[in-house]
Amino acid sequence: MIFGSGVLRSMLITLKNFFTSYFKGPEEGGIFTVEYPETRLPEKERFRNFPFLVYDRNPENLRCVACDICAKECPPKCIYIVREFDKEGRPLKRPAVFDIDFTVCMNCGICEEACPFDAIYMDHEFEIAGPERQSRLLYHKDDLLKSNEYFHKIRPTDATAIDQQRREAEEKKKAAAEAAAKAKQPD
Protein backbone atom coordinates (compact mmCIF):
# COMPACT_ATOMS: atom_id res chain seq x y z
CA MET A 1 0.00 0.00 0.00
CA ILE A 2 1.41 3.34 -1.03
CA PHE A 3 1.15 6.03 1.60
CA GLY A 4 -1.65 8.32 0.51
CA SER A 5 -3.74 5.78 -1.35
CA GLY A 6 -6.39 5.77 1.36
CA VAL A 7 -6.79 9.51 1.04
CA LEU A 8 -7.10 9.19 -2.72
CA ARG A 9 -9.74 6.51 -2.37
CA SER A 10 -11.85 8.60 -0.02
CA MET A 11 -11.52 11.51 -2.42
CA LEU A 12 -12.83 9.33 -5.21
CA ILE A 13 -15.92 8.60 -3.10
CA THR A 14 -16.72 12.27 -2.68
CA LEU A 15 -16.09 12.91 -6.37
CA LYS A 16 -18.43 10.09 -7.25
CA ASN A 17 -21.09 11.62 -5.04
CA PHE A 18 -20.47 15.00 -6.62
CA PHE A 19 -21.35 13.61 -10.04
CA THR A 20 -24.13 11.26 -8.97
CA SER A 21 -25.86 14.15 -7.24
CA TYR A 22 -26.62 15.54 -10.69
CA PHE A 23 -28.05 12.35 -12.14
CA LYS A 24 -29.52 10.19 -9.43
CA GLY A 25 -32.57 10.38 -7.27
CA PRO A 26 -32.60 10.27 -3.48
CA GLU A 27 -33.07 6.51 -3.42
CA GLU A 28 -29.85 5.74 -5.28
CA GLY A 29 -27.74 8.08 -3.21
CA GLY A 30 -28.46 11.35 -4.94
CA ILE A 31 -29.65 14.60 -3.43
CA PHE A 32 -32.00 13.93 -0.55
CA THR A 33 -32.91 17.50 0.29
CA VAL A 34 -36.61 18.25 0.32
CA GLU A 35 -37.10 21.87 -0.64
CA TYR A 36 -39.55 22.46 2.12
CA PRO A 37 -42.09 25.14 1.36
CA GLU A 38 -42.41 24.08 -2.28
CA THR A 39 -42.27 20.34 -1.84
CA ARG A 40 -43.27 18.43 1.24
CA LEU A 41 -42.80 14.93 2.48
CA PRO A 42 -45.98 12.88 2.32
CA GLU A 43 -47.87 13.13 5.59
CA LYS A 44 -47.74 10.03 7.69
CA GLU A 45 -51.05 9.06 9.11
CA ARG A 46 -49.80 8.50 12.63
CA PHE A 47 -47.77 11.65 12.71
CA ARG A 48 -48.57 13.47 15.92
CA ASN A 49 -47.97 17.03 16.73
CA PHE A 50 -50.26 19.01 19.03
CA PRO A 51 -53.65 17.87 20.30
CA PHE A 52 -57.04 19.08 19.11
CA LEU A 53 -60.61 18.51 20.28
CA VAL A 54 -63.06 16.65 18.10
CA TYR A 55 -66.70 17.66 17.69
CA ASP A 56 -69.50 15.91 15.79
CA ARG A 57 -71.59 17.93 13.35
CA ASN A 58 -71.32 21.35 14.99
CA PRO A 59 -68.88 22.92 17.46
CA GLU A 60 -71.52 22.97 20.21
CA ASN A 61 -71.57 19.22 20.12
CA LEU A 62 -68.06 18.45 21.24
CA ARG A 63 -67.18 15.07 22.63
CA CYS A 64 -65.22 16.32 25.61
CA VAL A 65 -67.09 15.96 28.90
CA ALA A 66 -64.53 17.85 31.02
CA CYS A 67 -63.64 14.72 32.99
CA ASP A 68 -60.10 16.07 33.59
CA ILE A 69 -58.43 12.71 32.94
CA CYS A 70 -56.17 14.04 30.20
CA ALA A 71 -55.15 16.97 32.37
CA LYS A 72 -54.20 14.57 35.16
CA GLU A 73 -52.37 12.17 32.88
CA CYS A 74 -50.54 14.77 30.84
CA PRO A 75 -46.86 14.32 31.75
CA PRO A 76 -45.84 17.98 31.48
CA LYS A 77 -49.24 19.17 32.75
CA CYS A 78 -50.04 21.46 29.88
CA ILE A 79 -53.82 20.98 29.82
CA TYR A 80 -56.10 23.14 31.93
CA ILE A 81 -59.82 22.40 32.11
CA VAL A 82 -62.70 24.14 33.87
CA ARG A 83 -66.10 22.49 33.83
CA GLU A 84 -69.11 24.45 32.71
CA PHE A 85 -72.05 24.98 35.09
CA ASP A 86 -75.59 25.83 34.25
CA LYS A 87 -77.58 28.65 35.84
CA GLU A 88 -78.56 26.63 38.87
CA GLY A 89 -74.97 25.70 39.52
CA ARG A 90 -75.24 22.11 38.37
CA PRO A 91 -72.20 20.81 36.53
CA LEU A 92 -72.62 20.26 32.81
CA LYS A 93 -70.83 17.62 30.77
CA ARG A 94 -68.73 20.06 28.83
CA PRO A 95 -65.75 22.29 29.46
CA ALA A 96 -66.04 26.02 29.95
CA VAL A 97 -62.30 26.47 29.60
CA PHE A 98 -60.04 24.08 27.77
CA ASP A 99 -56.55 25.51 27.39
CA ILE A 100 -53.45 23.78 26.11
CA ASP A 101 -50.12 25.49 26.41
CA PHE A 102 -48.26 24.45 23.28
CA THR A 103 -45.04 25.86 24.66
CA VAL A 104 -45.18 23.13 27.31
CA CYS A 105 -46.80 20.30 25.37
CA MET A 106 -44.31 17.65 24.27
CA ASN A 107 -46.42 15.84 21.67
CA CYS A 108 -46.33 12.53 23.52
CA GLY A 109 -49.92 11.51 22.76
CA ILE A 110 -50.76 10.35 26.29
CA CYS A 111 -53.90 12.50 26.35
CA GLU A 112 -55.14 10.79 23.21
CA GLU A 113 -54.53 7.41 24.77
CA ALA A 114 -56.07 8.21 28.10
CA CYS A 115 -59.23 9.92 26.87
CA PRO A 116 -62.19 7.58 27.51
CA PHE A 117 -64.52 9.62 25.27
CA ASP A 118 -62.39 9.75 22.08
CA ALA A 119 -62.49 13.50 22.32
CA ILE A 120 -58.86 14.55 22.03
CA TYR A 121 -56.54 13.61 19.20
CA MET A 122 -53.14 14.55 17.88
CA ASP A 123 -53.10 16.93 14.95
CA HIS A 124 -50.92 17.03 11.86
CA GLU A 125 -50.70 20.81 11.86
CA PHE A 126 -47.14 21.89 12.58
CA GLU A 127 -46.78 25.34 11.06
CA ILE A 128 -47.94 27.26 14.10
CA ALA A 129 -45.01 29.60 14.51
CA GLY A 130 -45.89 33.16 15.39
CA PRO A 131 -44.31 36.37 16.56
CA GLU A 132 -45.57 36.23 20.12
CA ARG A 133 -45.22 33.38 22.52
CA GLN A 134 -47.89 33.72 25.13
CA SER A 135 -50.79 34.86 23.01
CA ARG A 136 -49.91 32.74 20.01
CA LEU A 137 -49.09 29.40 21.57
CA LEU A 138 -51.64 29.23 24.37
CA TYR A 139 -54.51 27.57 22.58
CA HIS A 140 -58.01 28.05 23.95
CA LYS A 141 -61.07 25.91 23.40
CA ASP A 142 -62.15 27.67 20.22
CA ASP A 143 -58.75 27.26 18.63
CA LEU A 144 -58.61 23.59 19.49
CA LEU A 145 -61.99 22.59 18.14
CA LYS A 146 -61.92 20.69 14.89
CA SER A 147 -64.60 18.64 13.17
CA ASN A 148 -64.75 14.90 12.92
CA GLU A 149 -64.50 15.29 9.14
CA TYR A 150 -61.11 16.91 9.61
CA PHE A 151 -60.09 13.97 11.76
CA HIS A 152 -61.26 11.66 9.00
CA LYS A 153 -59.21 13.63 6.54
CA ILE A 154 -55.91 13.42 8.42
CA ARG A 155 -56.23 9.96 9.93
CA PRO A 156 -58.77 7.94 7.94
CA THR A 157 -57.94 4.54 9.42
CA ASP A 158 -58.15 5.55 13.06
CA ALA A 159 -61.17 7.76 12.52
CA THR A 160 -63.28 5.07 10.83
CA ALA A 161 -62.31 2.55 13.49
CA ILE A 162 -63.26 4.94 16.26
CA ASP A 163 -66.52 5.88 14.58
CA GLN A 164 -67.35 2.22 14.31
CA GLN A 165 -66.62 1.69 17.99
CA ARG A 166 -68.70 4.67 18.98
CA ARG A 167 -71.60 3.54 16.88
CA GLU A 168 -71.45 0.07 18.39
CA ALA A 169 -71.24 1.46 21.87
CA GLU A 170 -74.21 3.73 21.20
CA GLU A 171 -76.25 0.89 19.80
CA LYS A 172 -75.42 -1.20 22.79
CA LYS A 173 -76.44 1.63 25.03
CA LYS A 174 -79.67 2.09 23.15
CA ALA A 175 -80.37 -1.61 23.28
CA ALA A 176 -79.65 -1.61 26.98
CA ALA A 177 -81.94 1.38 27.46
CA GLU A 178 -84.68 -0.30 25.47
CA ALA A 179 -84.23 -3.45 27.45
CA ALA A 180 -84.39 -1.47 30.62
CA ALA A 181 -87.49 0.30 29.40
CA LYS A 182 -89.06 -3.00 28.48
CA ALA A 183 -88.16 -4.40 31.84
CA LYS A 184 -89.82 -1.40 33.46
CA GLN A 185 -93.00 -1.47 31.38
CA PRO A 186 -94.64 -4.68 32.56
CA ASP A 187 -95.42 -3.41 36.02
Binding site: K77, V82, V97, Q134, S135, L138
Partner: protein, 194 residues
Protein backbone atom coordinates in the same frame (compact mmCIF):
# COMPACT_ATOMS: atom_id res chain seq x y z
CA UNK B 1 -25.31 -20.06 43.04
CA UNK B 2 -28.25 -18.82 45.01
CA UNK B 3 -28.01 -15.51 46.82
CA UNK B 4 -28.50 -17.35 50.10
CA UNK B 5 -25.31 -19.30 49.51
CA UNK B 6 -23.42 -16.16 48.66
CA UNK B 7 -24.56 -14.66 51.94
CA UNK B 8 -23.33 -17.69 53.84
CA UNK B 9 -19.99 -17.58 52.03
CA UNK B 10 -19.55 -13.93 52.92
CA UNK B 11 -20.36 -14.60 56.52
CA UNK B 12 -17.87 -17.39 56.79
CA UNK B 13 -15.17 -15.38 55.03
CA UNK B 14 -15.81 -12.18 56.92
CA UNK B 15 -16.99 -13.02 60.42
CA UNK B 16 -18.43 -10.12 62.32
CA UNK B 17 -20.34 -8.53 59.46
CA UNK B 18 -24.00 -8.24 60.14
CA UNK B 19 -25.99 -9.14 57.04
CA UNK B 20 -29.70 -9.17 56.48
CA UNK B 21 -31.92 -10.27 53.69
CA UNK B 22 -34.19 -7.55 52.31
CA UNK B 23 -36.24 -8.06 49.16
CA UNK B 24 -33.81 -10.53 47.56
CA UNK B 25 -30.93 -8.19 48.26
CA UNK B 26 -28.23 -8.13 50.87
CA UNK B 27 -28.45 -5.41 53.47
CA UNK B 28 -25.20 -4.62 55.21
CA UNK B 29 -26.27 -3.47 58.59
CA UNK B 30 -23.12 -1.57 59.44
CA UNK B 31 -22.26 0.63 56.45
CA UNK B 32 -18.60 0.63 57.50
CA UNK B 33 -18.42 -3.04 56.49
CA UNK B 34 -19.35 -2.24 52.91
CA UNK B 35 -15.83 -1.97 51.40
CA UNK B 36 -14.85 -5.21 53.10
CA UNK B 37 -17.78 -7.08 51.61
CA UNK B 38 -17.34 -5.49 48.19
CA UNK B 39 -13.65 -6.29 48.20
CA UNK B 40 -14.38 -9.88 49.07
CA UNK B 41 -16.96 -10.15 46.31
CA UNK B 42 -14.63 -8.58 43.79
CA UNK B 43 -11.48 -10.50 44.57
CA UNK B 44 -12.70 -13.95 45.53
CA UNK B 45 -12.20 -16.43 42.73
CA UNK B 46 -15.67 -17.80 43.19
CA UNK B 47 -17.69 -14.67 42.55
CA UNK B 48 -15.55 -12.14 40.71
CA UNK B 49 -18.10 -9.35 40.87
CA UNK B 50 -15.79 -6.99 39.04
CA UNK B 51 -18.35 -4.70 37.51
CA UNK B 52 -20.29 -2.19 39.56
CA UNK B 53 -23.20 -1.40 37.33
CA UNK B 54 -25.16 1.11 39.30
CA UNK B 55 -24.86 3.06 42.53
CA UNK B 56 -27.83 4.98 43.72
CA UNK B 57 -29.42 6.45 46.76
CA UNK B 58 -32.98 6.11 47.94
CA UNK B 59 -34.96 7.88 50.60
CA UNK B 60 -37.21 5.79 52.86
CA UNK B 61 -38.13 8.64 55.21
CA UNK B 62 -36.62 7.09 58.37
CA UNK B 63 -33.35 6.34 56.73
CA UNK B 64 -31.42 6.79 53.52
CA UNK B 65 -30.20 3.88 51.54
CA UNK B 66 -27.43 3.32 49.05
CA UNK B 67 -28.01 0.52 46.55
CA UNK B 68 -25.21 -1.17 44.63
CA UNK B 69 -25.80 -3.45 41.66
CA UNK B 70 -22.87 -5.79 41.14
CA UNK B 71 -22.27 -7.97 38.10
CA UNK B 72 -19.43 -10.15 37.01
CA UNK B 73 -18.02 -9.49 33.58
CA UNK B 74 -15.68 -12.41 33.82
CA UNK B 75 -18.26 -14.99 34.80
CA UNK B 76 -21.20 -13.18 33.25
CA UNK B 77 -23.30 -13.53 36.37
CA UNK B 78 -25.33 -11.12 38.38
CA UNK B 79 -26.92 -9.03 39.50
CA UNK B 80 -26.02 -9.17 43.16
CA UNK B 81 -27.45 -6.23 45.01
CA UNK B 82 -25.94 -4.72 48.12
CA UNK B 83 -27.55 -2.06 50.19
CA UNK B 84 -26.53 0.00 53.15
CA UNK B 85 -28.75 2.08 55.36
CA UNK B 86 -27.80 5.27 57.15
CA UNK B 87 -29.69 7.81 59.20
CA UNK B 88 -30.82 10.98 57.56
CA UNK B 89 -28.61 13.19 59.69
CA UNK B 90 -25.36 11.25 59.73
CA UNK B 91 -25.47 9.86 56.22
CA UNK B 92 -21.92 8.57 55.95
CA UNK B 93 -20.95 5.57 53.89
CA UNK B 94 -17.40 4.60 52.93
CA UNK B 95 -16.75 5.18 49.25
CA UNK B 96 -16.22 2.32 46.82
CA UNK B 97 -14.08 4.37 44.43
CA UNK B 98 -10.81 2.68 45.46
CA UNK B 99 -12.35 -0.63 44.41
CA UNK B 100 -14.52 0.40 41.51
CA UNK B 101 -13.54 3.46 39.56
CA UNK B 102 -16.98 3.54 38.01
CA UNK B 103 -18.48 4.57 41.35
CA UNK B 104 -16.86 7.98 41.15
CA UNK B 105 -19.52 9.93 39.31
CA UNK B 106 -22.38 7.81 40.55
CA UNK B 107 -21.44 8.46 44.17
CA UNK B 108 -21.15 12.13 43.37
CA UNK B 109 -24.63 11.95 41.92
CA UNK B 110 -25.97 10.21 45.03
CA UNK B 111 -24.32 12.86 47.18
CA UNK B 112 -25.76 15.60 45.05
CA UNK B 113 -29.29 14.30 45.10
CA UNK B 114 -29.55 12.59 48.49
CA UNK B 115 -26.79 14.10 50.57
CA UNK B 116 -25.14 10.79 51.35
CA UNK B 117 -21.52 11.56 52.19
CA UNK B 118 -19.14 8.99 50.78
CA UNK B 119 -16.03 8.88 52.93
CA UNK B 120 -12.66 8.74 51.17
CA UNK B 121 -14.17 9.78 47.88
CA UNK B 122 -11.42 11.58 45.94
CA UNK B 123 -13.55 14.45 44.76
CA UNK B 124 -16.92 14.65 46.43
CA UNK B 125 -18.59 17.70 44.94
CA UNK B 126 -22.02 18.38 43.55
CA UNK B 127 -22.26 17.13 40.00
CA UNK B 128 -25.56 18.30 38.51
CA UNK B 129 -26.57 21.12 40.80
CA UNK B 130 -24.47 24.20 41.08
CA UNK B 131 -22.10 24.96 43.91
CA UNK B 132 -23.91 26.63 46.74
CA UNK B 133 -27.20 24.91 46.04
CA UNK B 134 -29.01 24.24 49.28
CA UNK B 135 -30.74 21.01 50.11
CA UNK B 136 -30.84 17.66 48.37
CA UNK B 137 -33.49 17.59 45.69
CA UNK B 138 -34.28 13.89 45.63
CA UNK B 139 -35.02 13.60 49.34
CA UNK B 140 -38.68 13.18 49.95
CA UNK B 141 -38.81 16.14 52.31
CA UNK B 142 -37.32 18.53 49.79
CA UNK B 143 -39.73 21.32 49.03
CA UNK B 144 -39.54 22.71 45.58
CA UNK B 145 -40.48 26.13 44.47
CA UNK B 146 -43.62 25.56 42.48
CA UNK B 147 -44.08 27.06 39.10
CA UNK B 148 -47.71 26.04 38.90
CA UNK B 149 -48.90 28.24 41.73
CA UNK B 150 -48.85 31.71 40.32
CA UNK B 151 -47.59 34.67 42.23
CA UNK B 152 -49.15 38.09 42.04
CA UNK B 153 -46.52 39.40 39.67
CA UNK B 154 -47.07 36.45 37.30
CA UNK B 155 -50.78 37.11 37.20
CA UNK B 156 -50.21 40.75 36.48
CA UNK B 157 -48.02 39.85 33.54
CA UNK B 158 -50.42 37.26 32.22
CA UNK B 159 -53.39 39.60 32.36
CA UNK B 160 -51.47 42.23 30.52
CA UNK B 161 -51.11 39.68 27.74
CA UNK B 162 -54.82 38.85 27.59
CA UNK B 163 -54.59 35.51 29.32
CA UNK B 164 -57.54 34.52 31.44
CA UNK B 165 -56.47 33.72 34.95
CA UNK B 166 -59.02 31.79 36.98
CA UNK B 167 -60.33 33.48 40.14
CA UNK B 168 -59.07 30.73 42.43
CA UNK B 169 -55.52 31.30 41.35
CA UNK B 170 -55.83 35.02 41.85
CA UNK B 171 -57.19 34.56 45.34
CA UNK B 172 -54.39 32.22 46.21
CA UNK B 173 -51.79 34.61 44.90
CA UNK B 174 -53.23 37.42 46.99
CA UNK B 175 -53.19 35.27 50.09
CA UNK B 176 -49.60 34.38 49.45
CA UNK B 177 -48.74 38.01 48.97
CA UNK B 178 -50.42 38.98 52.22
CA UNK B 179 -48.48 36.37 54.10
CA UNK B 180 -45.30 37.45 52.36
CA UNK B 181 -44.61 33.87 51.29
CA UNK B 182 -43.35 32.45 48.05
CA UNK B 183 -45.13 29.79 46.12
CA UNK B 184 -44.01 26.36 47.20
CA UNK B 185 -45.33 23.03 46.10
CA UNK B 186 -47.75 21.13 48.23
CA UNK B 187 -46.63 17.62 48.63
CA UNK B 188 -49.16 14.86 48.36
CA UNK B 189 -49.79 12.88 51.52
CA UNK B 190 -46.68 10.98 52.42
CA UNK B 191 -46.87 7.33 51.48
CA UNK B 192 -46.01 4.69 53.96
CA UNK B 193 -42.40 3.58 54.22
CA UNK B 194 -41.26 0.13 53.31
Amino acid sequence: MTPEEIKNKIQTALPGTALKWVRDTLLIENPQDLPKVANFLKTSEEFRFDYLSSVTGADYLQYLEAVYHLYSMEKKTGPFVLRARVGRDQARIPSLVPLYRGAEYQEREAYDTYGIIFENHPDLRRIFMWEGFEGFPMRKDYVQEDSEILEASDIEWLEKHQVQVPEGMKKRAEELKKQGRRAVAERPGQPEPQ
